[in-house]
């Protein structure tokens, strides 16, 4: 099991302001003694600041979303512009603009990730372990770094929508993200004992991609 004091999810909750006072106190105490977590906290706050700088009122061009959706792995294209203009109720329209802003943030993350992974992984659109095997072990560390950056940024996008998601849904998502993080932690432990094992590296990258995919879906939904 992962040591609770170095738990990434707890750290993200701390940065998001989700913890109660007692939990916050424990995290602050831990941060004072853990350089690694302090560095992670700084990185999270920088990413949060970047997300906060994203535009809030820009109108999306009609032909942008299909490309963004394809890049994110989404499947649904917008209805024709004319139909959209006539049919969309006012409340739904403002919701869609907000969703577009958040999805744009996610798209920025995925664009950067896609460019980086495109050089490293033969087919970055797949999620099974064998399909996300990096071209070489030397590329593995770079690929994992890109995943972690993207995951952190996307988590912030998803967290910014927590008010729109039901508590039950958020709890399910959080528990399953913890499952993914535990899997990643176990794989890292195994890799530490067997460095360069391509099977373990591909399994690890597959878990990163699964976590990203879950966050991507969370960013694009409300409940």
């Amino acid at each position: 099991m992962k040591e609770p004091e170095c738990d990434d999810v707890t750290l993200q909750d701390f940065v998001d302001g989700w913890l109660d006072a007692a939990q916050e106190g424990r995290v602050r105490e831990h941060l004072a003694a853990c350089a690694r977590c302090r560095a992670e906290e700084r990185q999270l706050r920088r990413l949060l600041a970047r997300v906060a700088e994203l535009p809030r009122t820009v109108a999306p061009p009609h032909d942008l979303w299909p490309g963004v959706a394809a890049r994110l792995g989404g499947r649904r294209a917008s209805p024709p512009a004319e139909v959209e203009a006539i049919e969309r109720p006012r409340r739904a329209r403002s919701w869609n603009v907000r969703r577009w802003v958040l999805q744009t943030a996610a798209a920025i993350v995925f664009t950067a990730l896609g460019a980086a992974l495109g050089r490293l992984i033969p087919d970055a659109g797949e999620t099974t372990a064998a399909a996300v095997r990096p071209a070489s072990s030397s590329a593995f560390a770079a690929a994992e770094t890109e995943y972690l950056r993207a995951k952190d940024a996307l988590w912030l996008v998803a967290a910014s929508r927590r008010d729109e998601l039901s508590p039950v849904t958020m709890e399910i998502v959080r528990r399953n993200l913890v499952l993914i993080d535990e899997a990643i932690w176990e794989l890292r432990q195994a890799l530490a004992a067997d460095p360069g094992n391509p099977h373990l590296e591909s399994l690890l990258l597959a878990q990163h991609r699964r976590g990203l995919d879950l966050l991507r879906r969370l960013s694009a939904r409300s409940a």
Binding site: V83, V173, R210, R221
Partner: protein, 291 residues
């Protein structure tokens, strides 16, 4: 199966209004294109979508308290149906039965509504959060995304793609299958020959029982969830199986061997078919058996 589905739909139609309290009966009909798009939004309650031979969309059902209106609009044969929540803050629900031209492309968006779809031949796309989704019939392609809702797809003939977080995925039929979940189970019992399959979980289990077409490719991946593959025999495919610390049980051929002296990893390569089956786990067990 069809009888079972119809019985479920009939039961929903009878019981749903009783459960919902204050009701407004609705019935609308608008022209539609034979192969047009029908978009349906119903946040909560139930939704039954079925295909018919008419170039019309018909919506019947009841709107519960908290739903202001049923919006049914058609523009150049493209139809949108939406049970519109009011501003009262109540979680409204609607129980709708929607009939669409059977070759329509149908997109459903919901949060917790129970969704039943049957008799469609066009593409079907469902996005949900917690409601169960059941699809029967032969849409050309089925795509379902949900967080915690269970998903069942029966008698599919084409591409099926399902993603959940912890919802159970059950697929019967289909040739091109993709399913992903974190902790939900994936159960596939192919009625026909599968050409392509790609399944991935973290802790959920995978059961893949199917015949494989010539040249088929199946990839199954898990972290700690068990994977069970049931195929007609060792001649069905070339199998490549590896697990870092999970037990591999092979009832089709030779036992797995250790990949190296200092690693717990086991590997297994056998089989003579021109299809390919790749199975990979970290600690989840793997069982290969005859179907």
């Amino acid at each position: 199966m069809r009888r079972c589905w119809r019985a479920s739909a009939a039961l929903l139609a009878v019981l749903a209004p009783l459960a919902a309290g204050a009701q407004t009966e609705v019935e609308r009909r608008v022209p539609a294109r034979a192969e047009g798009t029908v978009e349906i939004v119903n946040v909560a309650g139930s939704l039954v979508v079925s295909g018919w031979d008419r170039e019309e969309v018909e919506v019947t059902g009841t709107l519960g308290r908290g739903i202001d209106a049923l919006v049914v609009r058609a523009v150049r044969g493209e139809v949108k149906v939406e049970a519109e929540p009011g501003r009262s803050g109540h979680q409204g629900s609607a129980h709708l039965e929607v009939r669409v031209p059977h070759r329509s492309r149908v997109a459903v968006e919901t949060v917790s509504a129970e969704v039943l779809v049957a008799g469609l031949e066009g593409e079907l796309d469902v996005e949900s959060i917690s409601g169960p989704v059941e699809v029967e019939g032969d849409p050309s392609a089925v795509a379902v995304e949900t967080v915690s809702g269970d998903v069942t797809v029966r008698r599919a003939r084409g591409r099926v793609a399902v993603e959940t977080v912890n919802g159970r995925i059950t697929i019967e039929g289909g040739r091109d299958l993709r399913a992903q979940s974190v902790s939900g189970a994936i159960v596939v019992d192919g009625a026909g020959e599968v050409e392509r399959a790609e399944f991935g979980v973290v802790s959920g289990r995978i059961l893949f029982a199917a015949a494989l077409a010539r040249g088929a490719e199946a990839r199954l991946s898990s972290h700690s969830g068990a994977i069970e593959v049931a195929v007609p025999g060792a001649s069905a495919a070339r199998f490549e199986v590896s697990s870092f610390s999970g037990r591999i049980t092979n009832e089709l051929g030779p036992p797995a061997e250790k990949a190296g002296r200092f690693t717990p990893e086991h590997k297994l390569v056998f089989g003579s078919g021109d299809a390919r089956v790749h199975v990979e786990t970290f600690s989840g067990s793997v069982t290969l058996r005859k179907r």
